[in-house]
């Protein structure tokens, strides 16, 4: 029987899911909660709540201090602030940044490979523009 995990902040309910195991940092140290755990009320330290689902998936939620209540396999984490790590587009944003960098590199390489003649032509154009501006 899974544990129903609810993480509630003053702004909204961050997560309400069924998990087979929940690992949290309490004032007494890190504890893992499995189904049929003894009823418990504990102070939570700033840290993370790690949930493992029945299908093996993991979910991590960063939490601030608060209180945990566990009874009848229903774990409630009442915290002041929480951020679901899955929602942070960390991996995707890193990928995106990498892709952008590579693109940029490619395009600069293309520009750097301008032929000598073309370069001279450009330079001449810029000079003539400058001269025009100066004479005005």
């Amino acid at each position: 029987m899974p544990i129903r995990v609810e993480i509630v902040t003053p702004n909204r309910v961050i997560c309400s899911e069924e998990a087979v195991s929940l690992v949290v940092d309490t004032a007494m140290g890190e504890i893992e909660i499995l189904p049929m755990h003894r009823p418990l009320i504990a102070l939570l330290e700033v840290g993370s709540a790690r949930l493992r689902m029945a299908n093996g998936a993991q979910k991590t939620v960063a939490i601030s201090s608060g209180i945990l209540k566990l009874e009848h396999d229903r774990a409630i984490l009442v915290v002041e602030e929480a951020v679901s790590m899955g929602k942070l587009p960390l991996a995707s944003s890193v990928e995106e940044a990498r892709r952008l960098a590579q693109n940029a590199l490619k395009t600069t390489v293309v520009q750097g490979n301008l032929e000598q003649g073309e370069l001279e032509c450009l330079e001449a154009k810029i000079r003539s523009e400058l001269a025009k501006k100066l004479t005005k």
Partner: protein, 293 residues
């Protein structure tokens, strides 16, 4: 019948008023949506918190007394009145202020300019006056919280209550008086919350194995006492804001509708007056023509 020019001026005035009220209605509508979402989404937090507090048996509370949980014999009241900053929101403030008790010894803390004006006009003992931003900020709540806790701990007041408009839906707001200190009536508060969330108390049956408190009940009570006061007030302010914006939206919508119907009847009157003038002119012409013959 009034002059044509006069009616025309009135139509113009009414139309411009309806334009203004329509704009205000739209502004209030967008603010209303946000305020309502905030108020509704933060309700579960308080419910869960009071669920935890309800695990504290009376025996435990007595053994680990926190001043916030002790009710006193004396009953000097301090009332936080949550009004609005601006007007034009129908009878919202009026219905709330009607509930302000007449007892002389009650001291007040006002939130919102309208509440301050009302209390100072009545020469009540106003201790402090706060103003809250449309989007309720935590530091604003903390200010009120600190003051209230200080007054209570320094023994200047014995009961702290808050009077505000509880948000029901866009059309209904309930003026409510809620005690926030001392926090001894938890079971009542919890039952009320359950009722509003459509849940039964049996839903939260005790586990026979008994609760384990880590690290110690005392520390947990201290923590709860600190945050419950803060978030209780926070929730109250969110509800009050949601009611305010809803009331303003409805009031402005009514004003716009009234202005439109007034403008329509004025236009009818204007057309009648114009027709009357034209008919008169034709009659005069006709008379003049027959006299000339």
């Amino acid at each position: 019948m009034k002059g044509i020019r006069e009616i025309k001026n009135r139509i113009r005035a009414v139309d411009s008023v309806s334009k203004i009220t329509l704009a205000m209605q739209l502004v209030a509508a967008s603010k209303m949506k946000r305020a309502q979402d905030f108020a509704i989404e933060s309700r579960p937090y308080l419910l869960r918190l009071s669920e935890i507090i309800c695990c504290l048996s009376e025996k435990k509370l007595k053994k680990n007394m926190h001043p916030f949980f002790i009710s006193r014999e004396k009953q000097r009241r301090c009332l936080i009145v949550v009004g609005t900053d601006k007007g034009l929101c129908g009878v919202l403030n009026h219905t709330l202020f009607k509930l302000i008790p007449e007892e002389e010894e009650t001291s007040f803390i006002s939130v919102g300019r309208k509440a301050m004006q009302f209390l100072s006009r009545r020469k009540r003992s106003l201790l402090a006056s706060f103003s809250i931003h449309d989007r309720v900020q935590y530091h604003e709540v903390l200010g009120i919280c600190d003051l209230v806790a200080k007054l209570y701990l320094e023994d200047q007041v014995d009961v702290v209550e808050v009077l505000y408009q509880k948000f029901g839906n866009t059309l209904t707001y309930l003026p409510s008086l809620q005690r926030i200190l001392p926090m001894d009536g938890f079971y009542d508060v919890f039952d009320q919350m359950l009722k509003s969330a459509n849940l039964e108390r049996e839903h939260f049956q005790r586990d026979p194995r008994g609760l384990l408190w880590e690290p110690h009940v005392r520390q947990i009570i201290d923590h709860i006492a600190k945050i419950f006061l803060k978030y209780n007030l926070h929730q109250v302010l969110l509800e009050a804001k949601a009611s305010e914006h809803s009331a303003r939206m409805v009031a402005m919508k009514n004003a716009t509708d009234n202005a439109k119907s007034l403008s329509q009847s004025l236009k009818l009157e204007y057309n009648k007056a114009r027709q009357y003038a034209i008919t008169n002119e034709i009659i005069e012409l006709a008379i003049a023509a027959t006299e000339n013959h």
